[in-house]
Symmetry: C2
Subunit: 500 residues, 2 copies
C-alpha cells in the first residue's frame, strides 16, 4: 500500500508513509511536489565541513534516524545532518543556506507526531542535539536560561536538585529538546497548573532565515517595551526561525506530591469528579488526566501493565502538588471521601511514594507507546469544550462500526484536550476515508481545535481551515513571507499548500 | 514652562506637557512633527454620523476628557470622538480612515501612564466605551468572552457572582477597559499568581488597519493550529489593530483570602521575607507588594490614610488566596511566626474580612493617587532582577541629592517590578536632565526593562533601545509596516522615531 517511487528517484521523494496511502486521490495531507530549492553540491558540503569540523554528517547510516519520525510515518531523504554547537554556527549555516536557496529542517529530539520534525525531501537536517548547555539559573527567581538542545528530562533533574521544576512535563521528556518544546508549543501534563509556554517562556534567542540573530533572551517576568516578538516563534514549528536558546520561569518544587488513580462508570461521572476536584483540591490540583477501558486493554496486552484497580469504563489520574503534606493529604482525603460518597468514582488507589507515583503515571503516559504495537494508528489531538471531549470518541465508534480495530480516547481533561486514536492491523485507506474529514468536521462544529498540542507539521497543515479563519491563515502567510522570504525554513510544514 | 504654540496653530500641536518642558534641546520623548495624515473634512464627519448616529462626537466640551491623559501630561487636539458599539462599526470606521489616510487613536478607559491612550495631534479618537457587552461565560471552564470596552471591575463583579475572578487586578480597575488591558499587556497585582495575559488570554477579535476583521476569538485552552497571531496584539498598544473582543481564562474565586501588612527594617529583610513566603505560603501566595516609608508619608499627608502598624522603612502587602480557610490560616500563622522569630519583620497586622482587606490594599493601591498631589511626578516603571529593585531607588536618591522633593519606591516584588517616582514642586527640566538617561542606563546595566508593565506609548518610545536589541526593534517596524502600511493606528506611539 505504500507509495514507493522508482528507486532512482527516491532521493527526491517524500515517503510520506501514512498520508500517501489513502487511495488514488491525493489526501490533503500528502506532501506537495518538491519546491525548487537548490540541491546540495560538493562545494556546499565542503563549506559545512569547514564551519562544523566533524559535525557535518553524510554517512547514510547515521542519517537514517534523522530522516524518519518517531511514528515511522514520514521518511525524508536528506543527505546531510548538521550538528552546530553555538548560535553563531547556526547563524552561519542559515546565512549560507539562504543565499544558496537550500532548504533546512530544524530538528530537536524528533519526537513530534505530525511529521514536522523530519525532512520531507532532501532538506538539510539542522539538529540542536549538541546545543545542550545550561547557561544560567537564578535560584531566587527560578529563571533558567539554556541552549535549545537541552533534553527536557535533564533540565528537570537539574532543577529538582535546586528545589525547582520545569513548568512542563510530557511523555517524551527523555528525548525531546526544550527548543523543540517551545517551537511546537508543547502542552503536556502540567499545563493545567502552570499554563502554556506563552506565559512561562520569558525569552528566546532565535536565528532568522537569513542568519540574523534575534536576541529576545530576556530573563524578566515583565517587559512591555514594544511587541513581544518571541511569542511569534512559540508554536511556529521551526518555520519562522530556529530557536537557539530559551529562558523559562520555573515553579518551586512542591514539597508534597500525591497521585490518585480512580475509576468511573460514565464519562459524565468523570466530569463531575473533575468539577469536584477543582473545588476541593483547588490550588493544589496539578493534573487531571483520563484514559478509557480500551487504553487499559492495550496497556495490559502490549506492555503487560496491570490495572491497579478494578475494571471500569473510565480511569482518571489526578495529581496534587503543594507546600504542606498534611494540608494536601487532608484536602485529598476530603475530596476522595466526597467522590466515593457521591458515587462519582467506584474504585481508586493513592500514591505518595515516588515509585508508586511513577507506576500510576505510567498508566497514562505509556498509552502512546502501547498504541504503537497495535498495527497502524490514526492519531488525532483535539481540543473541545471539556463536556464534549468523549462524545467524539463515542460518535466515532458509532460512525466507524467494525471498520476499525479499536477506537480509544485518553488525554488532558483539565485542558479539554482529547487524544483520539483509531487503530487497524495495517494502513487502511478505506478506514482513513471514513475517519477524515468526519473527525475534522465534527471538531469544527463545536468550535474545537484540530490540533490542540501536537501542531500541524506536514500531516495536518491542510486542515488548518477547520480551526482558523481564512483571514488569519492569510496573515500567517504574510508573516512567513516577511521572516523567511525564500521559504527555506521547514518547508511543507504548518501552513497549507493553498495559501491565498 | 509649557510649550504653547501660537493659538491658531494649536489644533496641529501636541501639548505634550511633560515632555516638552525639558529645555531647548528636544527630549527623545517629545512628539515628532505631525505626520502627513489627512485632516478631517465635513464629508468625513458626515460619513461618521451616518454610520454612528448620535455617536460621532464633535462638541469640544465632550471631547476635552478624551484629549487629555489621566496624569494630565499629554494633551491632543482631536476634533472627533467616535463611539462604535459593534465590531462591524469599528471595521467600517477603519476601512474608511485607511482609505482616507486619517489617523486613529484607539482609546479604552484612558488610564494609561505613558501617553499612549490620547491623541498627540488631531487623530480621531475611537473609544471602546460603548462596546461593553459580556458575550458568553462558560461556568464549567471559566472562560469569559466579552467586548473590549467592558470595565475590568464590572467583569470582576460579574464573575464573582459566578464563583470566578478575573486573572488580573489593578488600581485603575474602576475605569480601565479589558481591551485596553490586553492592548497594553497590563500586569497588576495578581500576575505573581496567575501569570501574564499572554498566558490567560485565549482569544482575541481584532480589526486591522484596513478594516479586515481578524477572528482569533478561540475559547480553548490549547490550540496549536498555526501561528498564535493574537499574541502579536497583546501589548502592541493599539498600533497593530484595534481589539474588539477578548476571551480570557478565569480562575476560580478563592474560598479564603487573607491580607497581611508587615513592616521591615531593611530591604534585605524584605527580600528574605519574600523568599520565606514563597517557601511557606507556596501555592496560596497571590501577591507580594511593597512600599517604602516615603510612600507612607504621602499617603498620610495627601490622603489622610493612617499607617496600620508602627513606622518602618519598608512595608509589605502579602495576599493569600486558597480553597481552605483553616489550611490557609495555618500556613499564614506558621509563616508569620517564622518571620517574627527570625526578626525579618518588626510589626504587622492581618485581615480576613473584606473591609479590612480593602483597607490594607488601599495602602498599596492608592500610592499613585497620593503622588498626584505632590506637584509634578516623574514616573518610571522598571523591571529588574528582584534583588536589585530597591538599589535603584537608593542610587537615585544619592545621585539627585536635594534636587528632588522626594524619591519614592513601591511595586510588585514578586515580579521584580519597581515603580520609581520622583517628585518636585513643579516641572523641572534640570531635575529631568539629572534623572534621564541615568535611570535608563542604570536599568540597562542590569539587563532590566525600562517599562515593565506601563508600555512605551508616546513618552517612552524612544528609550526602547535601552531594553531591546536593534534587530528586534527593526523587526517590530517590519510588523507594523505589514499590518498598518499607512501607519494610521495610534501614530507616534510604541515604536521609536528613528526606526531603521
Amino acid at each position: 500500500m505504500l507509495f514507493f517511487p522508482p528507486k532512482e528517484k527516491r532521493k527526491e521523494k517524500c515517503l510520506c508513509l501514512q498520508t500517501r496511502a489513502d487511495g488514488p486521490t491525493p489526501s490533503p495531507a500528502a506532501a506537495p511536489d518538491r519546491l525548487p530549492f537548490s540541491r546540495i553540491t560538493p562545494e556546499d558540503l565542503s563549506f559545512f565541513r569547514t564551519i562544523l569540523p566533524g559535525r557535518a554528517i553524510t554517512d547514510p547510516d547515521l542519517l537514517e534516524s534523522s530522516n524518519v519520525d518517531w511514528l515511522k510515518s514520514v521518511k525524508g531523504s536528506s543527505e546531510v545532518l548538521l550538528r552546530p554547537q553555538t548560535t553563531e554556527e547556526v547563524s552561519q549555516i542559515l546565512k549560507y543556506c539562504n543565499s544558496r536557496n537550500l532548504a533546512v529542517n530544524p530538528q530537536g529530539g524528533n519526537t513530534g507526531l505530525v511529521g514536522g520534525s523530519v525532512p520531507v525531501y532532501d532538506e538539510i537536517v539542522l539538529s540542536t542535539a549538541l546545543m545542550n548547555n545550561i547557561l544560567t539559573f537564578d535560584s531566587i527567581s527560578g529563571i533558567l536560561t539554556c541552549q535549545a538542545g537541552c533534553v527536557l528530562e535533564n533540565l528537570s533533574l537539574y532543577l529538582e536538585e535546586r528545589d525547582y521544576i520545569m513548568p512542563l512535563d510530557l511523555g517524551a521528556k527523555g528525548s525531546c529538546h526544550i527548543g523543540g518544546n517551545v517551537a511546537t508549543n508543547a502542552g503536556g501534563l502540567r499545563l493545567l497548573r502552570y499554563g502554556s509556554l506563552h506565559g512561562t517562556v520569558l525569552g528566546l534567542e532565535v536565528v532568522l532565515a537569513d542568519g540574523r540573530v534575534l536576541d529576545c533572551l530576556a530573563t524578566l517576568r515583565k517587559d512591555n517595551t514594544g511587541y513581544d516578538l518571541k511569542q511569534l516563534f512559540i508554536g511556529s514549528e521551526g518555520t519562522l526561525g530556529i530557536i537557539t536558546a530559551v529562558s523559562v520561569l520555573c515553579p518551586r518544587k512542591p514539597k508534597s506530591v500525591n497521585v490518585v488513580f480512580l475509576g468511573c462508570e460514565t464519562f459524565e461521572q468523570l466530569l463531575k469528579t473533575f468539577q469536584l476536584s477543582r473545588g476541593m483540591l483547588g490550588e493544589i490540583l496539578s493534573a487531571f488526566e483520563f484514559l478509557d477501558s480500551e487504553c487499559m486493554r492495550l496497556l495490559n496486552t502490549h506492555l503487560k501493565l496491570l490495572n491497579p484497580i478494578s475494571d471500569c469504563p473510565f480511569y482518571v489520574v489526578i495529581e496534587t502538588s503543594g507546600s504542606d503534606p498534611t494540608h494536601d493529604g487532608e484536602k485529598l482525603h476530603n475530596f476522595l471521601e466526597e467522590a466515593m460518597t457521591s458515587s462519582l468514582v467506584t474504585d481508586g488507589t493513592v500514591a505518595t511514594e515516588d515509585s508508586k507515583i511513577k507506576g500510576l503515571w505510567s498508566m497514562r503516559e505509556r498509552v502512546t507507546e502501547a498504541l504503537t504495537h497495535e498495527g497502524f494508528t490514526y492519531k488525532y489531538d483535539i481540543s473541545l469544550p471539556v463536556e464534549r471531549i468523549y462524545q467524539l470518541v463515542t460518535d466515532m465508534r458509532e460512525h466507524l462500526q467494525d471498520r476499525a480495530k479499536s477506537v480509544v480516547g485518553y488525554g488532558h481533561v483539565g485542558d479539554g484536550n482529547l487524544h483520539l486514536n483509531i487503530t487497524s492491523p495495517a494502513k487502511d485507506p478505506a478506514l482513513l476515508a471514513a475517519i477524515e474529514p468526519f473527525v475534522y468536521e465534527w471538531t469544527a462544529r463545536y468550535n474545537g481545535s484540530i490540533s490542540a498540542e501536537h501542531g500541524l507539521g506536514l500531516k495536518k497543515r491542510n486542515y488548518i481551515y477547520y480551526s482558523k479563519a481564512s483571514q488569519a491563515v492569510s496573515l500567517m502567510g504574510n508573516i512567513k513571507a516577511m521572516l523567511d522570504p525564500k521559504g527555506i525554513l521547514n518547508p511543507y510544514k504548518t501552513l497549507p499548500d493553498n495559501l491565498k
